[in-house]
Amino acid sequence: MLTFLATNANQLILATEELGEINDGGLLASLAWLIPVVPMVAAFAIVFFGRRLPHKGWELAMGAMGFVGLYGILLAFATMNGEITYEGAISMGEFGPIVLEWGWMVDGLSSMMYFVVGVVGSLVFIYAKSYMAGDIRFTWFFASFSLFAGGMLVLVAAPNLIQLIVGWELVGVASYLLIGHYWEDHDNSSAAIKAFLVNKVADVGLFLGVIIIGTTAGTFRFSEILAQVAAGENDLLKKFAFLGGLALFIAAMGKSAQFPLHVWLPDAMAGPTPVSALMHAATMVTAGVYLLGRTFPLYFVEGYAVDVRPIIMIVGALTLFLTGLIALVQTDLKKVLAYSTLSQLGYMVAAMGAGAYTAALFHLFTHAFFKGLLFLAAGSVIHSVHSNEMTDMGGLRKYMPTTYKTFVIGSLALAGIFPLAGFWSKDEILVAFGKASGGAANFALYLGIAGAFITALYMSRAVYLTFFGEFKGHGTPHESPKMITVPLVVLAGFSLVAGLINMPGFSSWFTELTAVRFTVMGDYHPKAINFGMAAAGLSAALLGILIGYVLWSKDAETQAARDKFRIPLLYPLLERKYYIDDLYMDGIVRPLRGPVARAVDWFNGHVIDLFVNGAGALAKFVGKYVYRFDQSGLDSAIIASAAATGAGGSVLRLLQSGRVQQYAVMIFAGTVVLVAGFIIF
C-alpha cells in the first residue's frame, strides 16, 4: 500500500505540471489552492483543538477567513490588472474513461467571489466573536462556520462539475449544521432538515445536469465544455443542452432559493444571525447565481440551452415579485430581510436569464455588502432588545445611533436610491431587461420595476417600525460593543461606494474583472447612463419610500398601521406564504412519511413475507402429513388393506360432511383435474 501511495504521489506532481495551464499569475495563482483548503483545515482543527485555545477556536476560524480575505483582495486586483486565467488540477481516481480531479481555478469570476466571501466573511467572523460570546457551543459554531465558508470556496474554486457538486453539498451540510445550531428546539432542527431536503431536491437537478452535460461533452471541466460551446462544436451536447441546462437551473433554483423552491430560506432564520448574514450575503444563496454565471455561455450561445433562458427569466421575475410581497406582511425583522434576499436573488437570476452576465454578478457583488450590513445591523438590534419581533422594537434611533445610521444606509442601498450601491446594479439589470427581446423579458421588466417599488416599501416599513416611534420592548436598549459596530461601519462604507466601480461612463472595472475567463464573455456594460430606465427605477423606489412614510412613520401604533394594509384575500394569501409550505407538507412530505411509508412496510411484512413464511408453513404442513402417512400409512398398510372396505365406506361418508365449501373444493379440484386431463391426453 505504501508503494502504491508513493507512485500516486509522483502522478500528482506530474498531473499538476501537465494540466496546469499557466497564462499568468505565477505563484499567486498556483498557490490559490490554499483558499479553499485553509478554511477546511481550520474547521477540522477547531473540532479537535479548538477548546484548548485561548479564544476557543475563534482565532483559527478568523485567521483562516482573514487569510482568504487578504488573498481574495490580492487576487482580485492582480486579476484585474493581469488578466489571470489559471486552472490547476490533481487527479484523484479513475472510473473507466472518467478521471476525477480536485482543482482550483483563478479567473475574474472566481477572484470576485473569493473577494466577496473573504471580505464579507472576515467582517462577519469579527462580528460573530462578540455576538456569539457565551454560546453553549461556541467552538462548534466556528468549526461549522469555517466549514460553511470553506465549502463555498471549494465550490467557487471548482474547475470541474464534479468538484462543484462537492462544494455545493458541503455548503448544504454546513448550512444544515448552522441552521440547526440550537437543536434542542425541535423547530430549529426541522428548519435545518427542511433546508437540507429542499436543497437535496434541487440537487437531483444538479446531479442530472452534471451527468448530462459532462457525459455528452466528454469532459467535466468548465474550460473544455465552454470551449466546445463557444466553438459551436459537439452535436451531442447540442442535443442534450436544453435538458442539461434546465437541470442545472433547477439546481440553481434550490441553492439560490427561487420560487417555488424558496421555502427553506425564511425558515433558515432559525440559525444565529451571523449565519444568516453570511448565508444571504456571500455564501450559499449566491451559489446558484454563480453556477449560472459559470456556465453562462451554455445558455447564451445559439444552438445550446438558449430555450432555457425564458424559463429563467420568468422564474426569477416571479420570485422577485411574489417574495417581495410576502416581505410586506412579516413581523419578524429577520424574516423581512430574508424575503428581501429572495426578491433580490430573483433580480440576479432573471438578469442571468436576460443575458446580463455582468449586471447579475454586479448585483450579487453589491448585494453582498448591503445585505450583509442589514443582517448584522438587525443582529445588533436583536442582541440589544432580545426579540426578533418588530412589535417589540421602535424608537431605537435614540438608543442605537450607529446601528440606526448603518441600517438606513443599507436600506437605501437595497431600495436602489441614487448614488448608493444598489442603484447602479439594479439599474443595470433593468436596462438588461429592456434590451433583451421577447415576452419573458418584458414580463421581467414590468415585475422588476414593480419589485423596486415593493423593495422600497418594505424596507421603509422595517426602518420606521424598528427605529422610529416609541420603544415598545422591555428594558433599556443600548448600543452594541465596538466589535459589532465596526464591521457595520465598514460594510456601510462598501455599500456607499461599491456601485461606483461599475458606474457607466465613470469606470468599468467590474465588467473587465468578470470578463476575464477562459471563454470570451460578451461585454454588456452600458457605456452611458440610460436615463429613462434609471428614472423609472428611481421613481418607483422613491414612490415606495413615500408611501412607506405615509403609512408607517406618523403612526407609532404599528399594529394599527399594519391593519391598514390588510387587504382582504391578498393579506391571508401573503401571510400563509401562498400556501406553498402547506402544499409541500400536507401534499408531499406527510403522505410520504405516513401512509405511503407504512404501506410499503406493511407490504414488506405481509405480502413478500407471505410467500416466504407461507412456503415454510406449507412445507411443515406437507411434512406433517407425510410423516403421518409414513407412520400410520406404510406401517399399517396390511391392516389398512384388510379394513379397506369398511374404511372406504367411512372415508366416503366423511366426504358427505354437508358443508358447502368442502363440496366446492371438490368441484373445483375435480374441474382442474379433468380439464388438465383433457388437455394433456
Binding site: V607, G614, A617, L618, F621, Q661, V665, F668, A669, T671, V672, V675, A676, I679
Partner: protein, 179 residues
Amino acid sequence: MSFGDWIGQLENWVFAVLAFGTLAGAILVVHSRNVIHAALGLVLTLGSLAGLFLLLGAEFVAWTLVMVYIGAVIVLFLFGIMITRAPLGYEIDLSHPTSVKVTAAIVAGSLFALIGWAFLDAFEAVEFAAVDGPTRTADIGISMFTNYVIPFEVMSFLLLAALIGGIVLARQDPEEADE
C-alpha cells in the same frame, strides 16, 4: 415483444397500475380480517376493472359496472354486513383456520396455473387488433335489441323473479314480528 418494448408503452404502465389495484383489492377481499375493509377492497377491484374496461375501449360496460356495482351492489353488501351484525372491527372468525386456507390456496393456485397455462399456450404474444376507437354505445344497443333481444327478455324476467324472491325471503313473518 421484449420486456423493454413492453414497458415502453404508456398504456402498459396504466395497465400495470390498474392491475395492481385489481389484485390488491382482490387480496383485501379474500384476506382482510375486517369486513368493511373487505367490502372496500371489492370497490377497489371493481373500480380498477372499470378502468381496465376503459383502457380496452368498452366504455358502456365500464360505466355500467361503476353504476351498478359500486353504486348499488356495494351498498347492498354494506347493508347485509350491518344487518347480520358482522363485527365492524377486526375479527379472526371471518376465515377458516390455516389448514383449510392452505387447501383452498392449493386448489385456487392449481386452477390459476391451469387457466394461465392454457391462455399462455393459446395466445402467446397475440396483440389486440388495430383499434379504431372505443365501441359505440349505440352499436351495443342495436345489437342487444336485435340479435340478443330474447336473452334480454329472459334476463328481465329473471330480475323480476329475483325481486319477488328477495322480498319473500327477507320479509319478516307477521307472527314472528309480533313476538
